[in-house]
Symmetry: C2
Amino acid sequence: MNTKEKILKKSLELFNNQGVHNVGVRDIARALEISPGNMSYHFPKKEDVILALMEKLSEGNNICFETYGQKEPSLLSFIDLYEGLFTNQYAYRGLLIGNTEFEEVLRNRYAYKQTYEKRVNLLTNILIGLRNKGLLHLSESDQDMFLSFLAFFGRSWIHESFIYQRSATSAETIQHYIKLLKWQLSLIATEKGKRQLAQLA
Amino acid sequence: MNTKEKILKKSLELFNNQGVHNVGVRDIARALEISPGNMSYHFPKKEDVILALMEKLSEGNNICFETYGQKEPSLLSFIDLYEGLFTNQYAYRGLLIGNTEFEEVLRNRYAYKQTYEKRVNLLTNILIGLRNKGLLHLSESDQDMFLSFLAFFGRSWIHESFIYQRSATSAETIQHYIKLLKWQLSLIATEKGKRQLAQLA
DNA sequence: GTCTATAAATCGATAGAC
DNA sequence: GTCTATCGATTTATAGAC
């Protein structure tokens, strides 16, 4: 592993444990036993480190969606999709909480809005697919609301987990929110959909 | 209005617009055309300002719950309750987002956990009341899940609104999340409950 | 590529006069 | 109560030797 990769790995570790704003470039350098100057050679600004990590997070999410696309649409693979997404988000949780500090940077340099719109389109198609399979009972307006819910849920659970579930393990935390998602699905699932959900524990 | 109150008012205004971490004591002093030293006379530490504002927020929430307690339990008054809570939270949104910086402070000096547990108990009773009125269809496990959902929703909507709904007005933003809440309620409402919800536009 | 040393800015907080 | 002036710590970022 080269220095650049080492920096990214250690930065993420520190960000996750202490939050981005509590970790200075000095801290990262010290943890890696390299000099602050060396840090700046590889990443001229702290935001460059954050941006690089954000892109890795985004790639991870893309892979989850691609994996789903290759499977038969079902509520089980839908849950799988979200387990993947949540696991990925959890791995980068330090970036996703307390990011108001770098919000402006992200807005300018990271394709926030495009990514968001792409995801909404993707999810819309996924929901339509599940409805067409007779798994979800979704009217036009239900679909919009469930989409709003999913967008909200997918972006916000990590905030709450960071503040309120800190003592829990990674797996426990993720399962807590997956359970909440399953419950939501069960409320709008058809009988066929409910039978699929029943297969899960 | 005395200086202390002026400081609190202006601080909140600045926090809401720029986020706590982007507003220094100097900024507040400059905006009020007083000296930084004077700021420190009234609030020795920046966290004292934040703590005072948090307590005002908490009082506002308490009033919402008390108001609900004096009404006849119904899904309409339940929605009223949340409109009140959301309006209050929105007014103090600067404190509620990006608060990882002061999380430790809040944990130590503000009765976070007690407040949280009190609210969960309160909400549990409210839900039981609504079920007893024949408005909600809630099994034991449904109740737990809906409680988890409400706790999550109530704490997290403000994060999302701050990042994704910034261009919307206060009223639009709040109504967006109230609409989401109504939809959730409609999923677990009895026929009687659904008739109440239908009264709302 | 990596280092040491330090610039330059900003922050919270304090000292002491009035 | 309010002011001016400043301390002391911390941060990002850079300069220049090796």
